[in-house]
């Protein structure tokens, strides 16, 4: 670690030489510790717990983290900050949780708690269309309650009880209506992808507005002349559609419109699949 010849006051002897500053002997590569899924799984499915010596529970730790993220955003959630709020030493948190990454996984699962009253709530809607719309709205509700979930970019979540229940409840909507298992999975993930993207877009807009103080329309009104100045009519279609879509989307109802549109596409896809199944040519 100690670069030997560094010295010579600060003259930078070789000057223009290729590698006057390049050092970093290979040392040993240490990956950042690969996230203890085993233990996370155990923590996710823990039965119940008595508070430990300091009165701290894993559940309250997670809840505190979630509350903090809700109020000040995900980047405000640091181990030190959490410890301070809970009035314990920073390192005490590590006796409840293997590390921050794992805590985040726990937060994810915990925020899904109580999404559906029971596993058949969604299925009970009249028809799969109503069911899918119900599911989509519930998902959006979660994202609106915990916007930081949109920053997680979760693709392969560790499987916790609440995520499981959510998954089950949502799959049941699609079960037994004439799709095979792979189609069910594909449709479900299509719906999630859309809802996530749609919510993320809306949230991004909200944040931009909060930070810059400019609404989307105002921002475009200010940026457009600069852009047109620099791309001299090279991109006719883009300059026609880009601003317009945003202009139309700006009113709150239009985000809503885009959201419904995506759900509708999923519904139509299901309809087509079923129809083709019914009459195989």
């Amino acid at each position: 670690m100690d670069r030997a010849p560094r010295g010579k006051a600060k003259q930078k002897q070789g000057a223009k030489g290729a590698s006057s500053r390049a050092k970093k002997p290979p040392v040993e590569e240490q990956r950042p510790r690969p996230k203890d899924d085993e233990r996370t799984l155990a923590l996710l499915w823990r039965r119940q717990e008595r508070p430990a010596r300091s009165g701290l529970t894993l559940a309250t730790l997670i809840q505190t983290a979630i509350d903090l993220a809700d109020q000040e955003g995900l980047e405000a959630v640091t181990m030190r900050r959490l410890a301070e709020i809970l009035d314990v030493g920073t390192m005490s948190l590590y006796s409840h949780v293997p590390g921050k990454a794992e805590l985040t996984d726990l937060m994810w699962d915990a925020s899904l708690a109580g999404m559906y009253n029971d596993l058949d709530e969604a299925k009970r809607q009249p028809g799969y269309r109503a069911g899918l719309e119900f599911v989509a709205r519930r998902n959006r509700t979660v994202f609106e309650a915990h916007p930081w979930l949109l920053d997680l970019n979760i693709t392969r979540p560790v499987i916790g009880p609440n995520a499981c229940a959510k998954y089950e409840a949502e799959l049941r909507v699609l079960d037994g209506i004439g799709l095979d298992d792979l189609e069910i999975d594909a449709i479900a993930s299509q719906l999630w992808t859309h809802v996530f993207a749609s919510c993320r877009w809306a949230e991004e807009e909200r944040r931009a507005q909060r930070e810059t103080g400019l609404s989307d329309v105002e921002w475009w009104a200010r940026t457009l002349p600069i852009l047109e100045n620099v791309m001299h009519g090279e991109f006719p279609v883009a300059s026609r559609i880009g601003p317009k879509s945003n202009e139309m989307r700006a009113p709150e109802s239009s985000t809503e419109h885009h959201f419904r549109w995506g759900v509708e596409v999923v519904v139509q896809t299901v309809a087509t699949l079923i129809r083709n199944r019914a009459q195989p040519t």
Copy 2:
């Protein structure tokens, strides 16, 4: 909550007061500096540049960052590391770029360079189906060449020349085939969302495999018994579909299948929109 004799031994004077550790007088809240979009825009559309004193060009800075991200992932891209590779002082980078966030924006736009040979390449495909498939594959190619793009979670990119060209080339596929402008925008974003999600899933799988050394099937084979042990048949549909979808997806061809399936959905959506337009009843 707080067991009585907590204090004593360790002194810690106030001890059991609620706030022995809570301090942090309000001070002033400082946001992390709001990302200078104005200047980023100027840098994105810069015409050309002569190398500066040290021989450093913004273009080579960006390219170095991209290469590094390609080879070691986005988290390896730090200002110090970049400076070391380029053999300049860390703070020298800041005379070329306002900060790291802006550099990331520049990296995003730069990696889109040359995606299409010309603005009509995609449109030139025979029919919108071929056009959309072409676009989807090109997008995937970019994500495979630069997997770290999948970590960016870009929703509102700053508009650079390459992003513009990409946008234009892709919109042209949908232009003039009977969709209105809002539909074009919606379809395009639906396609991007799908490609992004699909590539992200594949990449996540690759990473998991690289880190744990377990393939997806192996991982499920190991995890499933643990899970079933803890969720005693509570989630029948989920336990039927979850493992199966992953099992089937494991062979490389199956990721491909899912990718195509999503594109097909988009194509069908376009077809439906056009059909309904043609005969407005």
